[in-house]
Amino acid sequence: MRRLPVYFLIDTSGSMYGEPIQALNNALSGMVNTLRADAQALDSLWISMITFDREVKEIVPLTELPSFQLPEITCPQSGPTHTGHALEMLYEKVKLDIIRGSSTQKGDWKPLMFLFTDGKPSDLQLYREMLPKIKSLNFGAIVCCAAGHLANDSLLKELTPDVVHLDTADSATLKQFFKWVSETIEQGNKSQGTGESVTLPPPPSEITLII
């Protein structure tokens, strides 16, 4: 059976402390419930979650949706945003996780990656070093979401053309965003020609696509 591996990179740096992290937990839980009710997703979706602040943690290793349990995501009251370090962990995990197709095994669908951040990388040098490596992994889509006025859209643009901006990280907006994420995921397992990537569905009005 073909798997659709989806990686979530979630900023848990100090600025997310309090209401934003609560809203994020709620929105993620809503998204997982939506996906659970989707026949296709229930059959093929595998989810991994990595959080990053000063520390980078794989809070859920790549897990099939029927067995997936969303943990409560917490964050420290202050501290830097180690986005580069998170990409480094992602790179290692993806290299290990992904099953490539051959004449004797069924390949995964191209993996998808969603990065959610409300700040900018504190480890900029590492972040930039990781960019070409991440791009070499052949993701079906990389979507970065920048929330709030402190998030740096242009740095994210260096990682992927698909950057969206949320003005606030409140509960309603996040819910909309993750609903859109689940729609994108539902697009992820369709046959593509070699080298083509996943087409993103049109985002809802709360989300600004950064051109």
Partner: protein, 469 residues
Amino acid sequence: MYIENLFKRFNVRVPANRQKLFEQFMHEEFNVEAVKLIMEKHKIIMENWELKVRIEDILAKQLIIPNATVAKPYQEALDFNQPEFMEISFIAFDNLDQYGLNFNPDLKLIEGIPNQSGDFKVKMKFKVFGEDENSEPNTKMISLVINADPKSLWKNIASDDQKDKTWKEQHYWKPDQVEDFQKLGSKHIVVSSKRGRSHANVGAFREDDYAFKHFEANGWSVVCVADGAGSAKLARQGSKIACKAVVDYFEQNLTDDNLRQFDEILLHHHQEGGDSQPISHFVYNNLSKAALYAHQQIEGFAAEINHPIKDFHSTLIFALLKKFDFGYAILTFGVGDCPIGLLNKDLTEIKLMNWLDVGEFGGGTRFITMPEIFSSEKFPTRFGFTLTNDFSYLMLMTDGIYDAKFVVEANLEKLENWKTFVDDLKGNNEDRAAVSFDVSNQEIAHQLSAWMDFWSPGNHDDRTLAIIF
């Protein structure tokens, strides 16, 4: 001792001349009893505190129950091996039965057959060692996720639901399911093509297609199967044009002169063996032109309606066959990930007529709509030819069938897998769906369509299977 310490705490000193009095005081019955009582209370307080901590530890520790699935028998032992949970002396669950589950206290199992899906909180009541037997049990809320039965989630929405004729024309609509059974020269063909669950679920179109024709004039037959790419907007039209174009091409181009020469080459090859180059030459010349014609037809259509050709991405396989006195000649072409398999008469040999374009990642394949396939050095290897006395089945299928039944390319080379596949078609399957390969069987196309409803987790693509027998 206790009283001495008490005095010290209150800075009461007993001078030497009162020492005797103090001794007496300590041994007065009231005081002895009081100290005993106090010590007992102390003990209780300490124990209570320790109890509270143990209970709090249990409440704070995450107890994970693996997710359940509706209608799927569930049996999971609660993981009480963690140190915090060792203290538990009693467990009961309040509301498990409403989900079709119950708790087996002896084996500490949650078991049953879940009957509803959702993200639930169940109440676990527990006591720890040392708690009063008559006290109210403690309550811990535990998350229990019950997934829906995946089969129940698939909807079947017609692609032309409440749509009129004009809409259908504008949207290149085609029926969600088609089937056919016909004589094909000296053989018969049964074929069915149906929309996958993933498309039915959202009311999308069938992207697969097929076409076949027997040319009475020269005895040749052609069978084509194509699989439109799910990610291409008009793939359904791409696969349709591709199949039709191949049939049209051979209809127009299998001319007498050309064929007579080929018949002679084949006869010569059959009698004398040896040099097969003239055959390869004919196969390559004729089939490549048909493939290119299919590409051009799609290209032309795309240009006409002002769409990029990639909107029409489709794989394409086709087989030409003809019966001679000395046996069958079978010529094939393939681009994409759809196999053509030829089973000999007594099912002792399988010949896979084409190789598959299988990408590193799922769904990554090649299409007849990609101009680069024609200039690739691998293009000449896309053709197949065989001469055989007779055969039992010649099958052309899309990946909707092959992914589910053969899983990987390597299995297509194995006779065992094809035998299992034929058995499966004949009814050796979960649903007891059977196709009776009898040319007088008027139900055969329906039977094949019904068989194609088989359930295979993760394999919900369109399914097309053409069987020549």
